[in-house]
Amino acid sequence: MPSLTYASPTTANEAIALLAEASGQAKLLAGGTDLLVQLRSGRVKPDLIVDTKKIPGIIGIREENGEFVIGAATPGAVLEAHPELKQVWPGVVEAMDLIGSTQIQGRASLAGNLCNASPAADSVPAMIAAGAVAVILGSKGRREAPVEAIVVGPGRTSLANDEFILEIRLPKRPPRSGDAYLRFIPRTEMDIAVVGCGVSVTLDEAGRCTAARVSLGAVAPTPLLVKEAADALIGHTLDDAILARLDAAARAACKPITDKRGTIEYRTKVAGVLTRRAAAIAFQRAQGDRSLRAPTKAH
């Protein structure tokens, strides 16, 4: 076995220097729920593992001027145990919570799920719908990028070799806003999305949608931000005609493959259905019904 070096830098600059000076392949380690599986199977053979968890600010959740700032390596269990975050962004928290088992939730993180860059990652459509921004550090300094700009293909991100995500920022929420994430799997737990859909909306006092973002997962090489689906909602209340337009817009955006989880036709059909259902939950939440949980997982 080629020699592997493990480093656990205690500052961001130290981490950047390690990544920038790495001669072979370097991999970032947060919760390790993807990386350790890939190491074991031999799919990745890094020369250097940089454990990010000792970098200040990379674990934990804080509120800053109405924004929620979630450290890149914060485990899902910490999101699930944060009542204020759940109140404002229930869709994002539920999407994260759908990933794997209780054991996985003890380690897996939003930024890890994002940087693993699976087309079917559950938290990513929810973050894209939320308008989440990744704060990225690297040799050239700090930059911010919308979450939809991170994944560029299966297993590939737009991050440079010397860059890593420090935190995920969820924007300040206007009144009468709600979000939801739904995924379809053929069982109730511990599976990978056939289709996933995140919807985030803001309504006016009459219940008309003034802002919307819709994102689909597992129907293309990367999670999609579907502007046409959002446009179908903006300016309207949620009635059957609007739901039909939303369904059609979601289906039109799909570019899925046929694999063991579903055919192109099936995934496309399910994408329309899930988008309608997620929009209905997001609208209800925006109207103040916070009792609602996505019917995908019990707690």
Partner: protein, 162 residues
């Protein structure tokens, strides 16, 4: 490649060990520390047989590197009982015969204990979802759930459920 020297806490005791960077915590527990209660089933985080509690959170020890244990507080199945006195979850697993081959049992004991650390009032549905990451290929789930619910009832101070 030189080994890393790790100082950590396992089952309440300070522990030091040397490990290679690619060794998992499960490798270290079983092969270096001779704590063989944690089992290796899938080695990919799917089966839960290697479940341990790290800083109060349930995790798969096959998905954590040994080097990451530095400075943390880890509880394995060997640390669930208090001396010779079994934890209620362990006793109830015996009373309900909630095991057949026993390979999944250490992971299920640790995961169930972690659930009851969170709440003594889980619904059956919550208990089933909580334990969804622990696979039992003998399909003994029903008795396992009965044992967990009964342990919860006992720890709440209620009489044994029928």
């Amino acid at each position: 490649m030189s080994k890393h020297h790790i100082t950590t806490t396992i089952n309440g005791e300070p522990v030091e060990f040397l490990c290679e960077p690619q060794e998992t915590l499960l490798d270290v527990l079983r092969n270096t520390l001779n704590l063989t209660g944690s089992k290796e089933g899938c080695a990919s985080g799917d089966c839960g047989a290697c479940s341990v509690i790290c800083d109060g959170k349930l995790i798969c020890s096959c998905l954590m590197l040994g080097v990451e244990a530095e400075g943390h507080n880890i509880v394995t199945v060997e640390g669930i009982a208090t001396g010779d006195e079994l934890h209620p979850v362990q006793r109830k697993f015996l009373e309900h015969a909630a095991l057949q081959c026993g390979f999944c049992t250490p992971g299920l004991i640790v995961a169930s204990k972690a659930l009851l650390d969170e709440t003594l009032n889980p619904t059956e549905e919550e208990a089933r979802y909580w334990l969804a990451g622990n696979l039992c290929r003998c399909t003994g789930y029903d008795k396992i759930i009965r044992a967990v619910m009964d342990a919860a009832a006992e720890m709440r101070g209620e009489a044994r459920a029928a």
